[in-house]
């Protein structure tokens, strides 16, 4: 059993007596990739925001390296966790290189300037995501996939122990969906990513968390989590599950034109 970098226990978050997150608990082993799945409004983004302390939960413990995150300073937390957000915000004029260099922020003192080593780190991160040619281009003018990769390059420069990705593959074509997750996996950092595409999550993640209406429905390996019953209950679609010919993890085929009845989905053989 490898050591865990992140532990979450009894996490609750309520707003105006409405429970958004209820009794979430999981842990992230070092170097693993944890996928967060669930329908829209399940609380995936809220959970991730709790992890990087943008939201302070009503109750529960979140620990990084066995130390509660409330004991981390803003700067120290940013040295441990990097985040790639779902919607890329609007930056008024900044080149890709400048955006990536922003990842240095939590590592810098007040009057520190960028050293040759820092610049090297930025260049190597840009090379890793394949954007070295676009370094001087305006970030706003990049394509969706390039923007996403630039944000990942910024996270690489931040040198975190944990990388949080909120729907990193949204709006990307299939080539970039695979490329970005493989890139993230190759970094060797512990990763938590919310992913909409269940087949992609199945293929790329070591473990999955299935959320529905703020509750944790299932956690475990893709084979344990992605069952026909759980998918029909949580997502309200019928499907058939086979093993993927290449990696042997679950491969989901959805059925069209069915509404799952209370008794579940009809059998298809």
């Amino acid at each position: 059993m490898s050591e865990s970098v992140l532990d979450v226990n009894h996490l609750f978050w309520q707003v105006d007596n409405k429970t958004i997150l209820a009794d979430i608990h999981f842990s992230l082993p070092k170097g693993q990739m944890l996928g967060l799945i669930g329908p829209n409004g399940a609380g995936k983004s809220s959970l991730l925001r709790c992890l990087y302390r943008y939201i302070v939960p009503t109750s529960g413990d979140i620990e990084i390296f066995s130390k509660p995150i409330s004991e981390y300073s803003s700067k120290l937390l940013a040295q441990n966790i990097a985040v790639v957000q779902q919607d890329t915000p609007h930056y008024f004029d900044m080149t890709t290189e400048q955006l990536v260099a922003m990842g240095l922020t939590p590592h810098k003192g007040l009057f520190d300037s960028n050293t040759a080593q820092d610049r090297e780190r930025v260049v190597s991160a840009l090379t890793k995501v394949g954007l070295q040619q676009k370094a001087q281009q305006q970030y706003e003018l990049l394509s969706g996939g390039e923007k996403q990769r630039a944000l990942i390059a910024r996270a690489i420069v931040q040198q975190p122990h944990i990388l949080i990705l909120d729907e990193p593959t949204n709006h990307l074509d299939i080539r970039y969906q695979i490329q970005i997750l493989e890139l993230v996996k190759s970094l060797g950092i512990s990763v938590i990513a919310s992913i909409h595409d269940l087949n992609l999550a199945s293929a790329m993640c070591d473990k999955l968390l299935l959320l529905d209406q703020g509750r944790l429905i299932a956690k475990g390996t893709p084979t344990e989590v992605l069952t026909e019953r759980q998918i029909s209950e949580v997502f309200g679609v019928c499907c058939d599950i086979n093993l993927h010919p290449q990696h042997g993890k679950p491969l989901i085929s959805y059925f069209y034109g069915y509404q799952p009845s209370p008794k579940g989905c009809p059998d298809h053989d």
Binding site: S74, A78, A82, T105
Partner: protein
């Protein structure tokens, strides 16, 4: 790795440094009294330890008069204009970044009018008790007084303090009107700023209505903005404020830059967003208050200079360059103000407002 934009930055930087060094000499030769550039050079030469060539045109007396005009009137005035331009520019630049509002400016956000109100309130409150009657005339008269006041006295500090309270109050009002968490709504924030500006403008007018005509006239002249009452003693406070603020902004330049990318992103980069934004806003009100207290309301500089710099160097926040460009701009605008009318000077605020409103329309057009 020196690319084109890097090279352009160094070239511009060197040019600006050169201009900053030469400007006092050239700017000092303009004004009501006709002083030749050679005389100015000679006076500067004397200052730097060189020998004063004994009376070129024979008149010892004329030399000392010229010397006094340059050293006691024009030089502090040039320096004050430089400090004011630099301060307003960096305040504008930081305001635009931390509010993510490209139209933010101390003047448009109502900070200047808040500061004016605070200053006028202090003046009218205390001048009526007679306690500050002397100061009232001292601060608000057009002609510069040679009787130098010490900078630390209560009477010299009370106006800047009043201005700072007024300025902070207006920042608070703007934020309350534009609503929390909605700071990204550019137009809403701008409207709140304009409303605040009118509010404090009305309050200032009310105060003026109940004061004497002479006081009203001098307050009016002062509120239009002028460097005419610059002296070595009232130069210190604004210079220290702007200098220290510039240092603080340089220290936090990464954090300020990161705010540009949105609150949540800044948070994930280890920044305490609410605290940083509030402190930067207060710092901007401090700069504005100090400058309004010393040289009145000078608008649009905080809008024009940062935008010009941004056009030249997209994405960077060259704070020092912004400060230098703003300072130089102000010095030469002041030269125009001194020379454009025969025997009379124009308040600089009028010139900057005229230029600025055109510039403002230009930005609005561009944003569409």
């Amino acid at each position: 790795m020196i690319d084109a934009s890097q090279r352009r930055y160094y070239v511009c930087f060197s040019l600006l440094v050169l201009a900053t060094l030469l400007t006092p000499i050239f700017a000092a030769s303009f004004g009501a009294a006709n002083i030749h550039l050679n005389d100015v050079l000679m006076i500067f030469n004397t200052l730097l330890g060189g020998d004063m060539p004994s009376a070129i045109d024979g008149s010892e007396h004329a030399v000392t008069i010229t010397q006094r005009i340059v050293l006691e009137l024009r030089l502090p005035r040039i320096l004050l204009a430089f400090v004011a331009g630099a301060g307003l520019s960096i305040a504008g630049s930081v305001l635009q970044t931390v509010t993510r509002n490209p139209l933010a400016d101390p003047y448009l956000f109502g900070i200047s009018s808040g500061a004016s109100f605070g200053a006028v309130l202090v003046v009218s409150l205390f001048s009526q008790t007679g306690l500050f009657a002397e100061m009232f005339s001292g601060v608000l008269t057009i002609a510069p007084s040679f009787t130098a006041q010490p900078w630390w006295s209560w009477s010299t500090l009370s106006i800047p303090i009043g201005a700072f309270i007024g300025a902070s109050l207006s920042v608070l009002v703007v934020f309350m009107l534009s609503g929390p968490g909605r700071s990204s709504q550019v137009e809403r924030m701008l409207l709140s700023g304009v409303a605040t500006s009118f509010l404090f403008g009305a309050l200032t007018s009310l105060l003026l209505y109940f004061s004497t005509p002479q006081a009203a006239a001098s307050v009016l002249f002062w509120s239009l903005g002028s460097f005419a009452k610059a002296s070595w003693s009232n130069l210190l406070l604004p210079s220290v404020t702007v200098g220290v603020s510039l240092l603080v902004m340089l220290a936090f330049r990464r954090q300020i830059m990161a705010l540009q990318a949105g609150d949540e992103t800044a948070h994930t980069l280890g920044i305490n967003v609410a605290k940083l934004r509030l402190s930067m806003l207060l710092l901007c009100s401090l700069i504005t208050a100090m400058l309004v207290a010393t040289c009145g309301g000078i608008g649009f500089v905080g809008l024009m200079i940062p935008h010009t710099v941004r056009l030249l160097f997209s994405g960077r926040q060259p704070m020092i360059l912004t400060a230098m460009l703003g300072g130089l701009f102000m010095v030469w605008i002041d030269v125009i103000a001194r020379c454009i009318l025969f025997n009379q000077e124009l308040p600089v605020g009028i010139i900057t407002a005229a230029l600025g409103s055109v510039f403002f329309l230009f930005i609005l057009r561009q944003r569409r």
